[in-house]
């Protein structure tokens, strides 16, 4: 049996799974061969290539069983909270309650990719006027209409203010369908004025202290709502415990990124790294399992890095990637073209940074919410990207546009100008739709071009 690190397709994985199972593979109760998810409609899996480790198997099974987990949680009497848009703050609060399970309805944006549009979520959204001119997150509206992707949550909590228009408009349409939403405001993050009291946020941005106070008051409203739902109080001690648990996840991901992005030979593929990072947002509706999965991945990459084993050539071009891809297959494509992921900014670096544990917990969460790269300027975002490019030693930047996303119109130009000016590395901007098959040739050409540029620059 193949035990050296490798990327394998689904058929190979199912064969490998049978062999591992015979050898006594230790799995959680949601385990099983990845291929079984095809029967549930996840057709895209048959076009993807996966890491061949048991840790990766567990990661994929955690991700692909979330829907089932949510329906079961609802049956068991847990209260479901749909945390929309804020990508990482409200779930930390929600996880502080034993009786609440938070999840991220926005995650439905990947469903059209995974099901290769057979879920008909876009069709459902189209039927009420939300067409392809909107970001693929319109699948969320389709999910609420069909009721298929996740159980309708007991509470919906959505951040608004310095957020993208398409998501805000789609969330408003969700409310118009009859689902009550608690909206909380996040102001545009700006630099403090000279005589204004300032706060240095985790992640390195600055914000006026009055904004931190305001967001703290907004999160207090969210806390009251969660308390009503759970019928229990959320005191500082409870919230601090929730923060500590979230930080365990964040520390795992931080170390994972550090090892994977800086190792001489890439020890874990880009697609698995993308999924692993996404776990930070809402812990895939199971914080305990998320922690176990990430520890498993960490153990695997530590072993591979120590024994100088990996899944790609040592001369793969080191690429920093901005924005998540609507089609996971493009993460495979990057590697097929001779590149490797060496740094990411998937719109939620604030969900990866460690939440301060030495200040009042609500203050800490307010600071984290304001650290959201999307809440401030693209120039701020670019500065953080530059810092991380240096940290991970990336040699090129790919900015992946999300079709229809309002922030993508202008940010690419600003980010690429700043990165080129400061770091003098090649930059390419591509657009990735939810099913990119018809664009594969174009995307391949552009990614290959940047890989070639990187390799030629090395010779010089």
């Amino acid at each position: 049996m193949l035990d050296e690190p490798a990327k394998i397709d689904l058929a190979e994985w199912d064969r490998r799974y049978s062999e591992m199972h015979l050898r006594g593979l230790n799995e959680p109760d949601y385990g099983g061969p990845i291929g079984r998810h095809i029967a549930e409609g996840d057709h895209r899996l048959s076009s993807l290539k996966f890491d061949n480790s048991p840790a990766a198997l567990r990661l994929w099974n955690l991700l692909l069983t979330e829907e089932q987990r949510l329906f079961e949680a609802k049956k068991r009497g847990k209260k479901l909270v749909g945390a929309m848009k804020d990508l990482g703050t409200v779930p930390v609060m929600a996880c502080s309650f034993e009786t609440i399970v938070p999840f991220y309805p926005d995650g439905a944006w990947w469903s059209p990719c995974i099901t290769e549009l057979s879920d008909e979520l876009f069709k459902a959204a189209d039927s009420i006027g939300i067409d392809e001119s909107f970001c693929p997150v319109r699948a969320v509206l389709g999910a609420f209409l069909t009721g298929d992707c996740f159980p309708i949550p007991d509470r919906l909590i959505c951040s608004v203010g310095a957020t993208c228009d398409d998501f805000s408009a789609i969330a408003q349409r969700v409310q118009a369908l009859g689902h009550s939403i608690l909206w909380w405001e996040i102001p545009h993050r700006r630099n403090p004025e000279p005589d204004e009291k300032s706060v240095r946020l985790p992640g390195g941005f600055n914000a006026p202290a009055c904004h931190v106070e305001f967001v703290k008051s907004e999160l207090s409203r969210v806390a009251v709502s969660l308390e009503e739902l759970a019928d229990e109080k959320l005191d500082n001690e409870k919230l601090s415990r929730g923060i500590k648990k979230a930080n365990v996840v964040r520390r795992c991901i931080d170390e994972l990124r550090n090892i994977v992005f800086t190792a001489r030979i890439c020890p874990l593929p880009a697609m698995e790294m993308l999924v692993a990072e996404m776990l930070a947002i809402h812990f895939c509706s199971d914080l305990r399992e998320t922690t176990m999965v990430l520890r498993g991945l960490l153990e695997e990459v530590r072993t591979r890095a120590k024994s100088k084993q990996g899944i790609l050539s040592p001369d793969a071009a080191r690429v920093f990637w901005v924005n998540p891809v609507a089609d996971l297959k493009v993460m495979n494509l990057l590697e097929d073209c001779g590149g490797r992921l060496c740094g990411t900014e998937f719109l939620f670096t604030h969900a990866l940074d460690i939440i301060p544990e030495d200040i009042e917990p609500m203050d800490a969460l307010a600071q984290m919410a304001l650290s959201d790269p999307m809440v401030g300027s693209s120039a701020d975002r670019a500065k953080r990207i530059c810092s991380d490019i240096r940290r991970f030693g990336a040699e090129a930047l790919v900015i992946s546009r999300i079709p229809g996303a309002s922030h993508c119109a202008v940010e690419g130009k600003i980010i690429s100008n700043i990165v080129r000016r400061r770091l003098d590395i090649p930059v390419v901007e591509i657009e990735v739709p939810p099913v990119s098959d018809s664009l594969q040739a174009t995307l391949r050409t552009r990614i290959e071009a940047i890989v070639e540029t990187v390799k030629k620059r090395r010779i010089k």
């Binding site: 909107f134 408009a169 969330a171 408003q172 405001e185 996303a405």
Partner: protein
């Protein structure tokens, strides 16, 4: 050179004037080949035209841009990057409660400091009051044969063409619910409150008085819309939006459902006059409303 350019109705002209500067609510022209802002895929044509106008406006001392939509919020960065104009990004909260109003008030005060930096002077209560007392809202409703409504974001110079077509084909604009029309006007100030706390009344009027679909939730916008449609006896609605405008495009279906009226959605690319295709659609729409009214009269 004491003009302060802006376009959003959430920027109080009275506040700018009270600081001794001249507010100029800019209505940009459609862009030409020498636009100072690159055409970027996904960039709203209005935002592009507005930024272009700011950069080319030699009379302006400064500009105020708001965060009412993501396009303008991010468009501000393109402007700030040039360094050619003193500009201020004003955060407009999307929620409507007292703490958010406090945030808006702080922005008004911060705008005041920006204006002071451009040669303005913080006004006294009396000065602000006297300027606010001069405010006279324009009449909201006209009357005529077939009243139609135009709703949407801000208009550009040359958009009177839309109004002309409607009038040419038997209708008139009974409700201008665009951002540059009556929707963007605050209700009359409360004179008593002005005397007690002019700034407080200014903040209150602007924060709560402008119905906008970007507010969350946007129930107030729909309450306003239904009220105005009824008052104006409107027979059809033209939703005029810019290409790439998600906030308005997302509301088209709901506007149809909530109002029960015929609704025509037209998207505008800001590149010049209305296309022939769009004009024909408007004409056909006016014919539909006219026929519908005739049928109603017969029955």
């Amino acid at each position: 050179m004491n003009r302060i350019i802006y376009s959003s109705p959430y920027v109080p002209a009275e506040w700018i004037e009270a600081h001794g500067l001249t507010p100029e609510r800019l209505m940009p022209k459609t862009v030409t080949a020498d636009c100072a802002v690159d055409r970027l895929e996904g960039l709203c044509p209005y935002a592009r035209a507005f930024l272009d106008s700011i950069l080319k406006n030699r009379r302006a001392r400064g500009a105020v841009i708001t965060t009412t939509c993501d396009q303008m919020r991010r468009g501000y960065e393109l402007l700030a990057d040039t360094g050619k104009r003193d500009c201020f990004l004003m955060n407009i909260p999307k929620t409507r409660h007292e703490a958010a109003k406090g945030l808006y008030k702080n922005e008004i005060l911060r705008l005041g400091r920006f204006l002071n930096g451009l040669g303005g002077k913080s006004p006294s209560q009396e000065k602000l009051s006297s300027i606010m007392l001069k405010y006279n809202p324009s009449p909201k409703h006209k009357s005529g044969a077939i009243p139609a409504a135009i709703i949407g974001g801000p208009l550009m110079k040359g958009d009177c063409e839309l109004f002309d077509i409607i009038e040419q084909f038997g209708g008139f604009v009974g409700l201008d619910g665009t951002e540059t029309g009556s929707r963007g006007e605050i209700p009359p100030f409360d004179k008593t409150r002005i005397h007690n706390d002019a700034l407080g009344e200014l903040v209150n009027a602007y924060f709560y008085g402008i119905p906008d679909p970007s507010v969350r939730p946007n129930t107030d916008f729909y309450d306003w819309l239904k009220r105005e449609l009824k008052a104006g006896e409107i027979k059809g609605i033209i939703l005029r939006r810019y290409l790439w405008c998600d906030l308005w495009h997302a509301e088209f279906y709901r506007i149809k459902q909530e109002t029960g009226l015929p609704v025509l959605e037209i998207d505008v690319d800001g590149d010049g006059p209305l296309s022939e295709r769009t004009k024909q659609r408007i004409i056909a729409f006016m014919e539909v409303i006219t026929c519908s009214m005739s049928r109603q009269k017969l029955t």
